[in-house]
Symmetry: C2
Subunit: 273 residues, 2 copies
Amino acid sequence: MAARLVPVSDPGDPRLADYVRLRDVNLRKSLETEHGLFIAEGEKVIRRAVGTGYPARSFLMARRWVEPLADLLDTVDAPVYVADDATVEAVAGFQVHRGALASMERLPLPPVEDTVAGTRRILVLEDLVDHANVGSIFRCAAALGIDAIVLSPRCADPLYRRAVKVSMGAVFAIPYARMTNWRDGLDALREAAGFTLLALTPDQSAVPLDKAALGERVALLLGAEGDGLSSRWLAEADERVCIPMSGTAMANGVDSLNVVAAAAIACHALMRS
Amino acid sequence: MAARLVPVSDPGDPRLADYVRLRDVNLRKSLETEHGLFIAEGEKVIRRAVGTGYPARSFLMARRWVEPLADLLDTVDAPVYVADDATVEAVAGFQVHRGALASMERLPLPPVEDTVAGTRRILVLEDLVDHANVGSIFRCAAALGIDAIVLSPRCADPLYRRAVKVSMGAVFAIPYARMTNWRDGLDALREAAGFTLLALTPDQSAVPLDKAALGERVALLLGAEGDGLSSRWLAEADERVCIPMSGTAMANGVDSLNVVAAAAIACHALMRS
């Protein structure tokens, strides 16, 4: 099968509707939800998305990016819109440095219980709203052997373009699911699946992470930077754990890590058994 | 002493020259070097900069930000330019969400040997070019008890606005210095100051960080994401250390952490003794 190259030159071409204003978060959220799509950007990420089994709806790129992706484009039954840089920029709303864009079809997320079946170490993200943080945490989790990630109902979308990009495609490598119910979500994990729930908190009176007893199945709960975990989740956890801070830092008021740094340290600590 | 409030309304006012086009990296680099200044953004960061002893050249803010900073502005001998949001945005080139800006005077950096005197755990950053990464690493290092940071000659400036902001002011809390010479810089650290040099590498054949022998004085070398440490520095280190990756991740090609996540895990590991 040969790639279906389709030259385009009009930024208003309705066939390019999947790619409009990629930096307009509100527009993109509603557009992507309505049409069940997400955007992959750059050769590496596109290869991972296709390799994971997401069906491609279409591609959009300047001519020079066709050749590096030719082997993949030849195997995919989707149009490849080829435009000059100015047209791509006019559609996307910014200069697309990584060259190629793909519009991919979302797949239905499995239920939480299916996603965590057979896993030993998972993260549970509560209401992280920053897409870059979510993407970075997926990257850390994948590299450090976390088996799956569960998202609270309001947590940011891992398939949002910026999350996908920052994750370097790790959002495709690690299974994840979204709780349908924030209130009972933790109970379900503990009671049905037998996870020990560890709540990560900056509170230095909590158990240092390296000293926490890790059971057979551990779910580490991470809250958003700033607010941290909700008091409900903190209270429902089996144990509150912390990353010990330097005494000097505390005295200087430099007393916190960003959520990605904290997640990285925590994932590393979970690898120890 | 009362704050010297100076109403301004012309974005071209030469007294606001320190604040022009804050997102124009090339312009800012030359302007800040030439005038020996840096920009602090937001109440918290400004308080830390002033508290650390950097002299203020001036402030620029909308009227509503004066009150929260009034106690500090009353103690500082520098003009406070007060403008409406549109004027601030016209000068800075973007909408300044955190409200207040301060132009601060740089202080001469101490020599490397003075900065590392009496320290036990330091980071040495080789040619990190991303300001956000540098700022994030300072934040991790400060929170996790690193005593000082040494920069290679070409490493990005920790006092660049974005680095300062991302660091949450940690760039003021942790002493740092810049090598004058990349070629001999490591020798000087080892021979004059007695540091054991550990080079962090993604290469999984290196010694796992948690197993590395930590001497009395340890300098952890971090390279830029992508290229990593130069072969010269890798060869000059006393030991090459790595963060163990998950076998599944390696098989899936998700085989790397971003440099901030790696730095966070490494700083945490250095705290163990």
